[in-house]
């Protein structure tokens, strides 16, 4: 897995690429922990993700919970194909804030 991040207009944008599995999830969790500690507006762009398992889903959910309890906001975007389906069957689409793509997420997080 490779993680890129950017900071624009007070919003942190995190882009994990590749595989978010039980091996790489701890690294992603540490990364998110560090980002949510300093900033309260966060977008996770999943458009470059090839694979996610329950270990990765847990890290995303934990991030959303942390951000919510700190009065912040975390938005997900860019889910495609099977990745979208995995989020759907896990029930996460109902409980997380999800936008279609990064542009829409950038607009939504300002509202």
């Amino acid at each position: 897995m490779e993680i890129k991040d950017a900071f624009e207009d007070n919003v942190v944008i995190v882009q994990p690429a590749g595989r978010l599995d039980s091996t790489s999830s701890p690294e992603f969790e540490q990364f998110l922990l560090a980002k949510t500690a300093d900033h309260n507006l966060l977008i996770i762009d999943l458009s470059r993700l090839d694979y996610i398992s329950s270990a990765g889903l847990r890290v995303v959910l934990a991030g959303a919970k942390r951000s919510k309890s700190a009065n912040g906001r975390m938005l997900l975007c860019g889910m495609k194909g099977v990745i979208h389906q995995i989020f759907e069957v896990s029930g996460f689409l109902k409980i997380l804030e999800v936008e279609k793509n990064l542009n829409k997420a950038k607009q939504a997080i300002k509202r």
């Binding site: 599995d21 039980s22 694979y51 329950s54 889903l57 847990r58 919510k68 194909g81 896990s90 029930g91």
Partner: protein, 138 residues
């Protein structure tokens, strides 16, 4: 086609690569290959994490059978008895986010991405058979 791994977490990623190569050769759709590896990761991670009460090396076999547009996968291990078709807690997917416990999702993903799952305990081995019809998108 039969794959053998030891009960080590770092065996799962190399297995996924071998499974991907094998299924691609059998012309299985990429989406199905992905969800198959997802199911294997969820089940094997559970077994390796919770299944063994000693520190010994144990073998787990994963055997694929593809015929008549159906894929079956039989996973056999000598871990403690565990029936994922009935022993796993049902995750609370309708619960609001703040109240949801973290975890318990793996088996839900496996049942969502397969057509059936059958468990059998024989001669001190867990034997789990997953079935999936092919020629569909996932």
């Amino acid at each position: 086609m039969k794959f053998m791994i030891h009960n080590r977490f770092d065996a799962i990623a190399p297995l996924a690569e071998q499974v991907e190569a094998y299924l691609a050769k059998q012309r299985v759709a990429p989406e199905t290959i992905l969800t198959t590896n997802l199911c294997l990761e969820e089940l094997l991670t559970n077994t390796i994490k919770y299944g063994y009460s000693d520190d010994d090396v144990h073998e787990i076999s994963i055997e694929f059978n593809l015929q008549n547009a159906e894929m079956s996968i039989e996973i056999v291990d000598d871990a403690d008895p565990f029936d994922p078709t009935s022993d796993a807690p049902t995750p609370e997917i309708e619960t609001p986010m703040e109240e949801r416990p973290i975890g318990g999702l793996g088996i839900l993903l496996v049942t969502s991405f397969t057509d059936s799952m059958q468990y059998d305990r024989r001669q001190n081995h867990n034997r789990l058979t997953l079935r999936k019809r092919l020629n569909q998108n996932t």
